[in-house]
Symmetry: none
DNA sequence: AAAGTTAAGGTCAGTTAAGGTCAAAAAGTT
DNA sequence: AACTTTTTGACCTTAACTGACCTTAACTTT
């Protein structure tokens, strides 16, 4: 049971830092973080790329060279309508399962949908469900996700 | 001839673990289990597929890759859940759109799901969504509906 | 000022560690 | 014998992690 995923630890650490920051923004150095977690620096990039994307509601800015840094900011919550529009834009004709999951998770953490609703939607876009429909799973999932967002949106 | 069926042993083992878990949910690794029972890993999938389905009252979630796991949860038992079980039974491998709609409507009038959740589910099983996936829409819808009911059910 | 050095962060391909799928062989049942 | 269930193994996909190599910026030296 002791499968400590380094990536998960780093994710938690960054989120804790963010939670403590009143501005919702932190600045840190990739190398220092890597030293702290005794890992290779590119591990940090992996974590950022898999858990702190725009879809997850985060913005990463950085600067190279001497005195370089990573700035991670939590994007401010919009209204359900705004977010929905963004999501429609992003989803387009096709979404992967992880992207869909990130979007739903974001809706939940923004408090726009309940935990139950989140689970509902996650279930609907899960790979197990999608693979039942032999055809282009991603295309189908996109239609599904959009329809569900629209449903929650409806007054 | 009292041959010991490996699958039965694995089933018993998992159920014992579940019984000991206060949350009704356990997380384990397929490989470790396979090593424990000295069998091929895919044997675990067989057991899960034949004895831990939604109809049996279990929900399987999993994650691949490094640090992957199998999460097995027992769906809560009670009168409400009886209904869910009935629905799984009724839905089976395939449902029409009107049947699916009726099922959802029933869940709503029984007070088991909220109006929003109902709309969510209706949206998901709507014909427009389903026909996006050219293949057997009814089969797909069945899987979808079952997964969603399970999702709302889960504690 | 130009060149060199050092201190960052970025990319990407490769390795390892999981779980998933499927079809065929084996075992058991009727 | 025919049928069903179980078991196996070859092959696949995904996630985590690593290291070699690249780019950019600041600092130092000539």
């Amino acid at each position: 049971m002791v499968y400590i995923r380094l990536s998960d630890e780093i994710e938690k650490y960054i989120k804790a830092l963010l939670a403590q920051s009143p501005s919702g923004e932190i600045e840190l150095q990739r190398n220092s973080l890597a030293v702290y977690f005794r890992c290779v620096p590119s591990q940090i990039n992996y974590v950022l790329a898999t858990r702190f994307t725009l879809q997850h509601g985060f913005l990463i800015e950085s600067r190279r060279g001497g005195g370089g840094y990573l700035r991670i900011s939590r994007l401010p919550a919009g209204t359900l309508e705004e977010l929905a529009r963004e999501i429609f834009e992003f989803v387009g004709e096709s979404v992967s399962q992880p992207d869909a999951a990130a979007v739903i998770k974001r809706l939940e953490t923004e408090g726009l949908i309940s935990v139950r609703e989140s689970r509902l939607m996650q279930a609907a876009v899960s790979s197990e469900v999608i693979k039942e429909s032999s055809s282009g799973g991603n295309r189908m999932r996109a239609a599904l996700l959009k329809a569900m967002v629209a449903a929650v949106l409806r007054r």
